[in-house]
């Protein structure tokens, strides 16, 4: 059980406080309700580029990192298709340093043309390092637009192409900040060995004078129900052929989301899973195979991916994969399989909850979903799932017309 308190400032900033009497550290986690899905199709990669710029100094503070490091702390951030999340970890006695820094950059940034120019280059190098200079690194740049025809999940957080990052201008940056970076669009989570009254006092002190702003209304184009099987093959200089099956699945708030999560575990989480034991271990058609979900807030994807063994054809593997998927529909999980999956989820959760930073991040994320207490309710949701539920969602999801297949052909 993870305990927390919650309060809201007059300007709309939601605050979660999690007390941990055992840690000498404090975590300040700030989640902004903006991600790559909020970008315009002509200016993609912007939420992420902007995350880089948030470290370039704010209205009263020329450099974000130095004062935090001086206080013994460090900071980082990540951007997903759904959110942008910033976190600071520092000795508890210096908590106010983090609040001073975070509140100032929520209030107003001080962008310089130099900072924009440099971060454009840094992000372009990140694009190359992660997507272009790795074998199979660019598959998501193809799989997303194959699976999504209208929803902004059709581009990756890094952006559709390098040119969008090169073209980013100062006016875009300022507009983006004004629209999304304000108290009414943020969730602040503080964790550490403090008293609630103290937290209220220091949060008031640093955040209450920031103008509320208007929470931007989010109207995203809904992805229409897929009705035909889609397939694309790209040719790359890689050592072996690879495949990525992407099935549409329900959004994060749908109860079926959790069932599909367990379904993906049953198919391909570990070396007991059905895809691994059948296709890799028994038939030896692949040298690796796995299944997982993208975990996105809007309708997401269930992915089955792997690499072919030498001299095996895509057709052979395709037939075998569909046969395994048929077993998900026709052969219910045994009690043993079901317990195994649930036990692994319990262990993983117990280890995740150990870290103060993890707890702070997850509390903020669940608050975004509607209620931070969701962090304590997940275990029961998984516990209640039964084999028949998994068969039912398998029947709806694991069908050809709900599938987009990307193949990487080695040349």
């Amino acid at each position: 059980m993870i305990h927390f308190d919650r309060f809201t400032l007059e300007n709309g900033l939601k605050v979660i406080f999690h007390k941990d009497p055992t840690s000498p550290l404090a975590v300040v986690n700030t989640l902004y309700d903006v991600g790559a899905r909020d970008e315009s199709p002509e200016k993609t990669g912007f939420a992420h580029l902007f995350e880089h710029l948030m470290f370039g100094g704010s209205v009263n503070i020329p450099d974000f990192d130095a004062p935090l490091q001086h206080a013994g702390g460090e900071s980082n951030a990540f951007t997903s298709n759904d959110i942008t999340n910033y976190y600071d970890v520092l000795p508890a006695q210096n908590l106010e340093t983090a609040l001073w820094l975070e509140s100032d950059r929520m209030m107003s940034l001080a962008f310089t043309p130099k900072s924009l120019e440099t971060q454009r280059s840094v992000v372009i190098e990140e694009f190359k390092q992660r997507y272009l200079n790795q074998p199979y690194g660019d598959v998501w740049l193809y799989l997303r637009p194959l699976a999504y025809t209208v929803h902004p999940y059709q581009w990756a957080t890094i952006g559709k192409e390098i040119k969008h990052i090169e073209d980013a201008e100062m006016v875009d940056v300022v507009e983006f900040f004004n629209k999304f970076y304000n108290p009414s669009n943020a969730i602040l989570c503080i964790a550490g060995n403090f008293e609630l009254a103290y937290i209220k006092e220091v949060v008031e002190k640093w955040y209450s004078d920031i103008p509320s702003g208007i929470k931007p209304a989010r109207v995203l184009p809904a992805e229409p129900q897929q009705t035909v099987f889609r397939e694309q093959t790209i040719e790359r200089k890689v050592p072996s052929d690879a495949f990525y099956y992407a099935f549409k699945m329900p959004e994060r708030k749908n109860t079926d989301y959790f069932i599909v999560d367990i379904l993906s575990d049953a198919m391909g989480r570990d070396k007991s899973s059905r895809l691994y034991t059948k296709i890799q271990k028994e038939l030896k058609l692949v040298t690796e195979i796995g299944a997982y979900i993208t975990g996105s807030l809007n309708d997401g994807l269930l992915i089955i991916s792997g690499k072919l063994s030498p001299d095996v054809t895509f057709e052979q593997v395709d037939n075998a994969i569909w046969e395994v998927m048929d077993t998900m529909i026709n052969i219910p999980l045994s009690d043993q399989e079901m317990n195994r999956l649930k036990n692994k989820i319990k262990t993983a959760k117990a280890f995740q909850d150990k870290g103060l930073l993890n707890r702070a991040m997850n509390l903020a994320y669940f608050e975004l979903l509607g209620d931070a207490d969701g962090i304590n309710e997940e275990a029961q949701i998984y516990e209640a799932i039964m084999p028949k539920h998994i068969q039912l969602v398998s029947k709806n999801i694991l069908i050809k017309t709900n599938c987009s297949l990307l193949k990487v052909k080695a040349i």
Binding site: T97, E125, K307
Partner: protein, 419 residues
């Protein structure tokens, strides 16, 4: 109010919790951190089965086969049994050590260890399991060979340990074709069944179970002396590994250095942090934040039991590989000629003390902190010395160290990419 930073309160001290230490044999010990408030258990079995042992590549293959089955159980049955308990097993290998990590909940620890012990002791090296491993590992090897980062890493290893066949060895694609089962069996017997060097336990277990663990694993204790080497020679100068069509070039450069047992170690930590080991470092400020040549650049000291080396690593746009090397050289030179300013030095001191506090947060972090000094025959008092040393180091001392160690001509410099 916003122009003035809040007051900074410096780190006073760190409250360390010591693990309990049990003798398995005279040299082999079990370390137990029982102060864990939740149900998680992390167990580590350390073996003298790193890549320096045996014939080249053999250690890696045996390591990958540890759960590949016995005469009675297939690899899949072993996996099923562990997964039924919700246990995660992570097996790793380095130059000097191989570690079996078990992560599970308290109530399943005993059963999970029994499964692991049976798999380890009765490992049968069934030929089709060996073939599966070789096929999968070879594919993974070929994929990793497409990464400039990995190509740089391999060349670096050979150049850095030029005088030691055991430490400088790197895997080749042909290694997968020449494995014999008797060789694997011999290695398993020598370095696992008689190779346990320590057990590390972090979890709120019963003390009676710790005794049982010692009984179970005691039979594997290492009896022979460890054969770690202490003197390595890196070949200075540039070496390029060509990789056609790479849009970025990986740079790795380094010199042989020392570990915690050396008198310069702690002060060098401060110097190398300023140079490249935090977000505000000279290398990051110049090469990322000013020039935008890279997504990241860093440096660090990698320690072994009897030695250590210093490494700088980055991946940069291929057209700026040469300018990046020029800037690294410039920053090295600057540390030798100009004393570090007071403001920067104070910032780094505070940063390092804060990081020390972070690395002692929670039983798992505390345990790895302890093991980090235990391997050099020291205890927590080392960290108290470190706090004092970091607090008192002067700019003059850092400049002296820069002139002693940061000598460009001594560095091995590897570039991997398209020239």
């Amino acid at each position: 109010m916003r122009k003035t930073p809040p007051a900074i309160h410096p780190l006073q001290k760190i409250d360390f919790i010591s693990p309990k230490i049990y003798d398995i044999t005279g040299d082999v010990k079990l370390f137990w951190m029982s102060e864990v408030a939740d149900d998680t258990v992390h167990l580590e079995f350390h073996f003298d089965a790193g890549t320096i042992q045996g014939e080249p590549s053999l250690a890696g293959f045996v390591n990958a086969l540890l759960l590949s089955g016995t005469d009675k159980k297939s690899s899949t049955q072993i996996q099923d049994d562990l997964n039924d308990l919700g246990a995660f097993v992570d097996i790793e290998i380095g130059q000097e050590v191989a570690i079996i990590n078990l992560f599970c909940l308290r109530q399943y620890t005993e059963a999970a260890v029994d499964i692991l012990a049976d798999a380890l002791v009765n490992l049968a090296f069934v030929s089709h399991e060996v073939d599966d491993m070789l096929r999968e590992k070879k594919q993974a090897y070929l994929v990793s060979s497409e990464k400039v980062n990995m190509l740089g890493r391999r060349a670096f290893q050979a150049q850095m340990f030029s005088n030691s066949d055991r430490y400088g060895r790197i895997m080749k694609a042909t290694d997968f074709d020449t494995v014999s089962i008797p060789e694997l069996k011999r290695f398993h017997k020598d370095f696992y069944l008689h190779g346990l060097t320590k057990i590390v336990v972090t979890g709120n277990l019963n003390v009676s179970y710790i005794d049982r663990l010692i009984d179970v694993a005691g039979a594997w204790a290492r009896t022979e002396h460890l054969s770690f080497e202490d003197t390595f020679i890196n070949i200075p100068g540039e070496m390029h590994v060509e990789k056609a069509d790479a849009v970025q070039t990986a740079i790795r450069m380094g010199i042989q250095l020392f570990n915690k047992t050396h008198e310069d170690f702690l002060d060098f930590q401060v110097l190398q942090t300023i140079f490249g080991d935090y977000f505000g470092s000279r290398l990051m400020s110049n090469i990322r934040e000013d020039k935008g040549y890279t997504y990241g650049i860093g440096c660090g000291v990698s320690e072994s039991h009897k030695s250590g080396f210093f490494i700088i690593a980055t991946e940069v746009g291929k057209e700026v590989a040469k300018p990046t090397l020029d800037e690294i050289r410039f920053e090295m030179y600057r540390l030798r000629t100009d004393p570090v300013g007071e403001e920067e030095l104070n910032l780094v001191k505070n940063y390092l003390l804060g990081q020390m506090l972070k690395s002692a947060d929670g039983p798992d972090a505390m345990m790895s902190l302890f093991m980090g000094v235990e391997m050099h025959g020291k205890g927590y008092e080392y960290y108290n010395e470190a706090i004092e040393s970091v607090t008192n180091v002067t700019a003059e001392r850092l400049q002296e160290l820069a002139n002693k160690y940061l000598i460009w001509e001594n560095f091995t410099i590897i570039t991997a990419g398209e020239q």
